[in-house]
Symmetry: C2
Protein backbone atom coordinates (compact mmCIF):
# COMPACT_ATOMS: atom_id res chain seq x y z
CA UNK A 1 0.00 0.00 0.00
CA UNK A 2 1.03 3.59 -0.63
CA UNK A 3 0.39 6.22 2.06
CA UNK A 4 -1.29 9.39 0.78
CA UNK A 5 -0.71 12.76 2.47
CA UNK A 6 -2.51 15.85 1.09
CA UNK A 7 -2.14 14.58 -2.48
CA UNK A 8 -2.06 17.21 -5.22
CA UNK A 9 -5.44 17.79 -6.93
CA UNK A 10 -4.16 18.20 -10.51
CA UNK A 11 -5.76 16.04 -13.24
CA UNK A 12 -3.03 13.37 -13.54
CA UNK A 13 -3.17 12.85 -9.77
CA UNK A 14 -6.94 12.43 -9.88
CA UNK A 15 -6.48 9.94 -12.73
CA UNK A 16 -3.77 8.13 -10.73
CA UNK A 17 -5.92 7.82 -7.60
CA UNK A 18 -8.84 6.51 -9.65
CA UNK A 19 -6.68 3.75 -11.20
CA UNK A 20 -5.21 2.99 -7.76
CA UNK A 21 -8.69 2.41 -6.32
CA UNK A 22 -9.59 0.15 -9.24
CA UNK A 23 -6.40 -1.90 -8.75
CA UNK A 24 -7.05 -2.19 -4.99
CA UNK A 25 -10.57 -3.47 -5.72
CA UNK A 26 -8.99 -6.11 -7.98
CA UNK A 27 -6.64 -7.04 -5.10
CA UNK A 28 -3.49 -5.98 -6.97
CA UNK A 29 -0.47 -7.42 -5.16
CA UNK A 30 2.73 -5.39 -4.61
CA UNK A 31 0.83 -2.27 -5.66
CA UNK A 32 3.64 -0.13 -4.21
CA UNK A 33 6.41 -1.82 -6.28
CA UNK A 34 7.85 0.78 -8.63
CA UNK A 35 10.86 0.51 -10.90
CA UNK A 36 13.16 3.52 -10.70
CA UNK A 37 15.63 4.12 -13.54
CA UNK A 38 18.53 6.51 -13.29
CA UNK A 39 21.52 7.60 -15.33
CA UNK A 40 24.96 7.53 -13.76
CA UNK A 41 26.62 10.43 -15.54
CA UNK A 42 30.11 9.41 -14.28
CA UNK A 43 29.90 5.92 -15.75
CA UNK A 44 27.43 6.88 -18.54
CA UNK A 45 25.16 4.01 -17.56
CA UNK A 46 21.41 3.59 -17.25
CA UNK A 47 20.40 1.42 -14.26
CA UNK A 48 17.04 0.20 -12.91
CA UNK A 49 15.79 -1.34 -9.70
CA UNK A 50 12.47 -1.87 -7.91
CA UNK A 51 11.75 0.03 -4.72
CA UNK A 52 8.68 0.28 -2.51
CA UNK A 53 6.86 3.57 -2.97
CA UNK A 54 5.93 4.51 0.60
CA UNK A 55 4.26 7.92 0.34
CA UNK A 56 2.76 10.42 -2.04
CA UNK A 57 2.77 13.74 -0.20
CA UNK A 58 1.35 16.57 -2.31
CA UNK A 59 3.50 16.09 -5.48
CA UNK A 60 6.36 14.30 -3.74
CA UNK A 61 6.70 10.55 -4.34
CA UNK A 62 8.83 9.09 -1.53
CA UNK A 63 10.85 5.90 -1.10
CA UNK A 64 13.74 5.07 1.24
CA UNK A 65 17.26 3.88 0.62
CA UNK A 66 20.85 3.84 1.76
CA UNK A 67 22.45 7.20 0.83
CA UNK A 68 25.77 5.48 0.02
CA UNK A 69 24.18 3.08 -2.47
CA UNK A 70 24.91 3.12 -6.22
CA UNK A 71 21.46 4.58 -6.96
CA UNK A 72 22.17 7.46 -4.61
CA UNK A 73 25.37 8.19 -6.58
CA UNK A 74 23.35 8.12 -9.82
CA UNK A 75 20.71 10.50 -8.48
CA UNK A 76 23.47 12.99 -7.54
CA UNK A 77 25.15 12.80 -10.92
CA UNK A 78 21.91 13.17 -12.97
CA UNK A 79 18.91 14.53 -11.12
CA UNK A 80 16.23 13.22 -13.48
CA UNK A 81 14.76 9.71 -13.33
CA UNK A 82 12.03 7.60 -14.89
CA UNK A 83 9.65 5.42 -12.91
CA UNK A 84 7.24 2.75 -14.01
CA UNK A 85 4.36 0.91 -12.37
CA UNK A 86 2.56 -2.08 -13.86
CA UNK A 87 -0.72 -3.20 -12.31
CA UNK A 88 -1.55 -6.45 -14.01
CA UNK A 89 -4.98 -6.72 -12.33
CA UNK A 90 -6.24 -3.83 -14.48
CA UNK A 91 -3.64 -4.20 -17.28
CA UNK A 92 -2.30 -0.71 -16.63
CA UNK A 93 1.16 0.70 -17.06
CA UNK A 94 2.02 4.11 -15.58
CA UNK A 95 5.13 5.76 -16.99
CA UNK A 96 6.63 8.71 -15.16
CA UNK A 97 9.52 11.12 -15.65
CA UNK A 98 10.57 13.19 -12.65
CA UNK A 99 13.19 15.25 -10.85
CA UNK A 100 14.69 13.58 -7.78
CA UNK A 101 16.21 14.91 -4.54
CA UNK A 102 16.71 13.87 -0.90
CA UNK A 103 13.62 14.01 1.31
CA UNK A 104 13.80 16.47 4.21
CA UNK A 105 15.47 14.83 7.21
CA UNK A 106 12.51 15.40 9.57
CA UNK A 107 10.34 13.24 7.37
CA UNK A 108 13.04 10.56 7.13
CA UNK A 109 13.33 10.59 10.95
CA UNK A 110 9.56 10.27 11.25
CA UNK A 111 9.43 7.29 8.89
CA UNK A 112 12.42 5.54 10.52
CA UNK A 113 10.83 5.89 13.95
CA UNK A 114 7.68 4.13 12.73
CA UNK A 115 9.41 1.13 11.13
CA UNK A 116 9.86 -2.29 12.72
CA UNK A 117 13.11 -2.79 14.65
CA UNK A 118 14.03 -5.69 12.36
CA UNK A 119 13.80 -3.53 9.23
CA UNK A 120 15.88 -0.88 10.97
CA UNK A 121 18.46 -3.49 12.02
CA UNK A 122 18.85 -4.41 8.35
CA UNK A 123 19.11 -0.75 7.28
CA UNK A 124 21.82 -0.18 9.87
CA UNK A 125 23.80 -3.40 9.34
CA UNK A 126 23.88 -3.54 5.54
CA UNK A 127 26.28 -1.66 3.29
CA UNK A 128 23.75 -1.73 0.47
CA UNK A 129 25.01 -3.19 -2.82
CA UNK A 130 28.58 -3.65 -1.56
CA UNK A 131 30.03 -7.10 -2.32
CA UNK A 132 30.33 -9.60 0.53
CA UNK A 133 31.81 -13.10 0.76
CA UNK A 134 28.63 -14.94 1.71
CA UNK A 135 24.99 -14.63 2.65
CA UNK A 136 25.82 -16.04 6.14
CA UNK A 137 27.87 -12.92 7.00
CA UNK A 138 24.87 -10.76 6.06
CA UNK A 139 22.70 -12.75 8.48
CA UNK A 140 25.33 -12.48 11.26
CA UNK A 141 25.61 -8.70 10.82
CA UNK A 142 21.83 -8.42 10.95
CA UNK A 143 21.54 -10.57 14.12
CA UNK A 144 24.26 -8.50 15.83
CA UNK A 145 22.53 -5.21 14.97
CA UNK A 146 19.23 -6.60 16.24
CA UNK A 147 20.77 -7.04 19.73
CA UNK A 148 21.75 -3.36 20.00
CA UNK A 149 18.32 -2.03 20.94
CA UNK A 150 19.69 1.46 21.73
CA UNK A 151 20.66 2.18 18.09
CA UNK A 152 17.57 0.74 16.39
CA UNK A 153 15.34 3.79 16.72
CA UNK A 154 17.88 6.44 15.72
CA UNK A 155 18.07 6.95 11.98
CA UNK A 156 21.67 6.72 10.75
CA UNK A 157 22.71 9.63 8.53
CA UNK A 158 23.44 7.23 5.66
CA UNK A 159 19.80 6.17 5.36
CA UNK A 160 16.75 8.24 4.36
CA UNK A 161 14.16 9.18 1.80
CA UNK A 162 14.32 10.15 -1.83
CA UNK A 163 11.52 12.31 -3.22
CA UNK A 164 10.71 12.60 -6.88
CA UNK A 165 8.31 15.08 -8.46
CA UNK A 166 6.79 13.91 -11.76
CA UNK A 167 6.67 16.30 -14.72
CA UNK A 168 5.40 13.63 -17.12
CA UNK A 169 2.79 10.87 -16.78
CA UNK A 170 1.61 8.33 -19.29
CA UNK A 171 -1.33 6.07 -18.48
CA UNK A 172 -1.20 3.04 -20.78
CA UNK A 173 -4.16 0.65 -20.76
CA UNK A 174 -3.66 -2.59 -22.67
CA UNK A 175 -6.32 -3.43 -25.29
CA UNK A 176 -6.95 -6.31 -27.70
CA UNK A 177 -4.91 -6.40 -30.95
CA UNK A 178 -2.44 -4.00 -29.31
CA UNK A 179 -5.08 -1.25 -29.55
CA UNK A 180 -3.74 0.18 -26.31
CA UNK A 181 -5.14 3.40 -24.85
CA UNK A 182 -2.40 5.87 -24.08
CA UNK A 183 -2.89 9.24 -22.40
CA UNK A 184 -0.02 11.57 -21.59
CA UNK A 185 0.30 14.59 -19.30
CA UNK A 186 3.29 16.91 -19.58
CA UNK A 187 3.94 19.71 -17.09
CA UNK A 188 5.40 22.98 -18.24
CA UNK A 189 5.46 26.07 -16.03
CA UNK A 190 2.98 24.49 -13.58
CA UNK A 191 0.47 23.70 -16.40
CA UNK A 192 -0.31 20.10 -17.43
CA UNK A 193 -0.87 19.53 -21.17
CA UNK A 194 -2.90 16.46 -22.10
CA UNK A 195 -2.58 14.32 -25.24
CA UNK A 196 -3.55 10.92 -26.63
CA UNK A 197 -0.69 8.85 -28.04
CA UNK A 198 -0.79 6.28 -30.84
CA UNK A 199 -0.30 2.70 -29.68
CA UNK B 1 6.20 -16.91 -22.98
CA UNK B 2 9.72 -16.26 -24.25
CA UNK B 3 11.04 -18.25 -27.21
CA UNK B 4 14.50 -19.75 -26.68
CA UNK B 5 16.87 -20.36 -29.60
CA UNK B 6 20.29 -21.93 -28.89
CA UNK B 7 20.58 -20.04 -25.61
CA UNK B 8 24.11 -19.30 -24.37
CA UNK B 9 25.41 -21.84 -21.80
CA UNK B 10 27.22 -19.35 -19.51
CA UNK B 11 26.39 -19.45 -15.78
CA UNK B 12 24.02 -16.44 -15.62
CA UNK B 13 22.00 -17.94 -18.48
CA UNK B 14 21.75 -21.30 -16.69
CA UNK B 15 20.64 -19.41 -13.58
CA UNK B 16 18.10 -17.43 -15.65
CA UNK B 17 16.59 -20.54 -17.24
CA UNK B 18 16.30 -22.24 -13.86
CA UNK B 19 14.37 -19.27 -12.40
CA UNK B 20 12.24 -19.13 -15.57
CA UNK B 21 11.20 -22.77 -15.12
CA UNK B 22 10.35 -22.15 -11.46
CA UNK B 23 8.21 -19.13 -12.39
CA UNK B 24 6.43 -21.11 -15.13
CA UNK B 25 5.63 -23.87 -12.61
CA UNK B 26 4.13 -21.17 -10.37
CA UNK B 27 2.03 -19.99 -13.35
CA UNK B 28 3.68 -16.55 -13.49
CA UNK B 29 1.56 -14.28 -15.68
CA UNK B 30 3.11 -11.87 -18.21
CA UNK B 31 6.42 -13.65 -17.75
CA UNK B 32 7.71 -11.95 -20.93
CA UNK B 33 6.95 -8.40 -19.70
CA UNK B 34 10.24 -6.55 -19.32
CA UNK B 35 10.85 -2.91 -18.56
CA UNK B 36 13.46 -1.33 -20.82
CA UNK B 37 15.10 1.92 -19.71
CA UNK B 38 17.11 4.13 -22.01
CA UNK B 39 18.87 7.47 -21.96
CA UNK B 40 18.08 10.01 -24.63
CA UNK B 41 21.41 11.79 -24.95
CA UNK B 42 19.89 14.63 -27.01
CA UNK B 43 17.31 15.52 -24.37
CA UNK B 44 19.39 14.19 -21.42
CA UNK B 45 16.40 12.18 -20.23
CA UNK B 46 15.99 8.69 -18.80
CA UNK B 47 12.82 6.94 -20.03
CA UNK B 48 11.24 3.54 -19.32
CA UNK B 49 8.55 1.39 -20.88
CA UNK B 50 7.42 -2.23 -20.80
CA UNK B 51 7.88 -4.39 -23.88
CA UNK B 52 7.28 -8.07 -24.55
CA UNK B 53 10.51 -10.04 -24.68
CA UNK B 54 9.95 -12.39 -27.61
CA UNK B 55 13.20 -14.32 -28.02
CA UNK B 56 16.49 -15.13 -26.39
CA UNK B 57 18.77 -16.31 -29.19
CA UNK B 58 22.24 -17.21 -27.94
CA UNK B 59 23.05 -13.97 -26.01
CA UNK B 60 20.63 -11.76 -27.93
CA UNK B 61 17.45 -10.69 -26.15
CA UNK B 62 14.93 -9.59 -28.78
CA UNK B 63 11.77 -7.44 -28.74
CA UNK B 64 10.01 -5.58 -31.54
CA UNK B 65 9.09 -1.96 -32.01
CA UNK B 66 8.50 0.89 -34.40
CA UNK B 67 11.89 2.21 -35.57
CA UNK B 68 10.58 5.81 -35.59
CA UNK B 69 9.45 5.65 -31.96
CA UNK B 70 10.99 7.74 -29.18
CA UNK B 71 12.71 4.67 -27.71
CA UNK B 72 14.37 4.00 -31.06
CA UNK B 73 15.76 7.56 -31.00
CA UNK B 74 17.06 6.97 -27.46
CA UNK B 75 18.76 3.69 -28.41
CA UNK B 76 20.57 5.49 -31.27
CA UNK B 77 21.73 8.34 -29.08
CA UNK B 78 22.98 6.12 -26.20
CA UNK B 79 23.53 2.47 -27.02
CA UNK B 80 23.37 1.13 -23.48
CA UNK B 81 20.14 0.23 -21.66
CA UNK B 82 18.92 -1.35 -18.45
CA UNK B 83 16.19 -3.96 -18.29
CA UNK B 84 14.26 -5.35 -15.36
CA UNK B 85 11.98 -8.33 -14.85
CA UNK B 86 9.91 -8.97 -11.74
CA UNK B 87 8.35 -12.40 -11.26
CA UNK B 88 6.09 -12.02 -8.26
CA UNK B 89 5.24 -15.75 -8.15
CA UNK B 90 8.79 -16.52 -6.97
CA UNK B 91 9.54 -13.02 -5.55
CA UNK B 92 12.41 -12.56 -7.98
CA UNK B 93 13.78 -9.43 -9.59
CA UNK B 94 16.27 -9.71 -12.45
CA UNK B 95 18.28 -6.57 -13.18
CA UNK B 96 20.18 -6.34 -16.43
CA UNK B 97 22.51 -3.86 -18.13
CA UNK B 98 23.15 -4.36 -21.84
CA UNK B 99 24.23 -2.95 -25.18
CA UNK B 100 21.42 -2.51 -27.72
CA UNK B 101 21.27 -2.56 -31.53
CA UNK B 102 18.82 -3.34 -34.34
CA UNK B 103 18.12 -7.04 -34.96
CA UNK B 104 19.19 -8.34 -38.39
CA UNK B 105 16.42 -7.71 -40.93
CA UNK B 106 16.06 -11.40 -41.90
CA UNK B 107 15.03 -12.23 -38.36
CA UNK B 108 12.62 -9.26 -38.22
CA UNK B 109 11.09 -10.47 -41.53
CA UNK B 110 10.75 -13.98 -40.12
CA UNK B 111 9.00 -12.77 -36.97
CA UNK B 112 6.68 -10.40 -38.86
CA UNK B 113 5.62 -13.21 -41.21
CA UNK B 114 4.60 -15.37 -38.23
CA UNK B 115 2.48 -12.73 -36.45
CA UNK B 116 -1.30 -12.43 -36.65
CA UNK B 117 -2.62 -10.13 -39.38
CA UNK B 118 -4.35 -7.99 -36.75
CA UNK B 119 -1.10 -7.32 -34.89
CA UNK B 120 0.57 -6.47 -38.19
CA UNK B 121 -2.31 -4.13 -39.11
CA UNK B 122 -1.66 -2.25 -35.89
CA UNK B 123 2.11 -2.15 -36.49
CA UNK B 124 1.51 -0.73 -39.98
CA UNK B 125 -1.26 1.75 -39.11
CA UNK B 126 0.15 3.28 -35.94
CA UNK B 127 2.74 6.06 -35.78
CA UNK B 128 3.88 4.84 -32.39
CA UNK B 129 3.84 7.45 -29.60
CA UNK B 130 2.84 10.30 -31.92
CA UNK B 131 -0.04 12.42 -30.57
CA UNK B 132 -3.49 11.96 -32.12
CA UNK B 133 -6.81 13.75 -31.58
CA UNK B 134 -8.79 10.77 -30.33
CA UNK B 135 -8.80 7.03 -29.75
CA UNK B 136 -11.54 6.68 -32.44
CA UNK B 137 -9.09 7.75 -35.18
CA UNK B 138 -6.65 5.06 -34.00
CA UNK B 139 -9.41 2.45 -34.37
CA UNK B 140 -10.36 3.75 -37.85
CA UNK B 141 -6.74 3.62 -39.04
CA UNK B 142 -6.45 0.08 -37.71
CA UNK B 143 -9.70 -1.07 -39.41
CA UNK B 144 -8.57 0.45 -42.72
CA UNK B 145 -5.18 -1.29 -42.56
CA UNK B 146 -6.88 -4.58 -41.73
CA UNK B 147 -8.73 -4.46 -45.10
CA UNK B 148 -5.51 -4.20 -47.12
CA UNK B 149 -4.59 -7.88 -47.00
CA UNK B 150 -1.76 -7.46 -49.53
CA UNK B 151 0.34 -5.28 -47.18
CA UNK B 152 -0.21 -7.24 -43.97
CA UNK B 153 2.48 -9.87 -44.52
CA UNK B 154 5.24 -7.55 -45.73
CA UNK B 155 7.24 -6.00 -42.90
CA UNK B 156 7.43 -2.22 -43.29
CA UNK B 157 10.97 -0.85 -42.99
CA UNK B 158 9.94 1.28 -39.99
CA UNK B 159 9.20 -1.79 -37.84
CA UNK B 160 11.54 -4.50 -36.59
CA UNK B 161 13.51 -6.01 -33.76
CA UNK B 162 15.87 -4.62 -31.18
CA UNK B 163 18.47 -6.96 -29.71
CA UNK B 164 20.26 -6.35 -26.45
CA UNK B 165 23.22 -8.31 -25.11
CA UNK B 166 23.55 -8.26 -21.32
CA UNK B 167 26.93 -7.56 -19.73
CA UNK B 168 25.51 -7.44 -16.19
CA UNK B 169 22.91 -9.54 -14.35
CA UNK B 170 21.65 -9.29 -10.82
CA UNK B 171 19.32 -11.94 -9.43
CA UNK B 172 17.49 -10.50 -6.43
CA UNK B 173 15.39 -12.86 -4.31
CA UNK B 174 13.21 -11.22 -1.70
CA UNK B 175 13.56 -12.52 1.89
CA UNK B 176 11.94 -11.76 5.25
CA UNK B 177 13.13 -8.64 7.17
CA UNK B 178 14.58 -7.36 3.87
CA UNK B 179 17.27 -10.09 4.10
CA UNK B 180 17.21 -10.31 0.31
CA UNK B 181 19.58 -12.61 -1.56
CA UNK B 182 21.47 -10.76 -4.27
CA UNK B 183 23.87 -12.33 -6.73
CA UNK B 184 25.58 -10.37 -9.48
CA UNK B 185 27.40 -11.40 -12.66
CA UNK B 186 29.56 -8.89 -14.54
CA UNK B 187 31.06 -9.66 -17.93
CA UNK B 188 34.50 -8.35 -18.82
CA UNK B 189 36.42 -9.61 -21.85
CA UNK B 190 34.04 -12.59 -22.27
CA UNK B 191 34.51 -13.67 -18.61
CA UNK B 192 31.68 -13.46 -16.07
CA UNK B 193 32.69 -12.46 -12.52
CA UNK B 194 30.33 -13.52 -9.75
CA UNK B 195 29.65 -11.71 -6.45
CA UNK B 196 27.14 -11.59 -3.61
CA UNK B 197 25.75 -8.13 -2.80
CA UNK B 198 24.55 -6.79 0.54
CA UNK B 199 20.79 -6.27 0.74
Amino acid sequence: MINFIDVCKDTPYIRFLDFYKRAILKKQRNIEAISISSFNDNRKEVESRYVNLKYIRDQEWIFFSNYHSPKSESFSSHKQISAILFWESINLQIRIKAKIYKTDSDFSDYHFSKRSLSKNALAISSFQSKPIESFDIIKDNFENALKKKEILTKRPDYWGGFSFEPYYFEFWEGGSNRLNKREAFLKDKKIWTHSYLQP
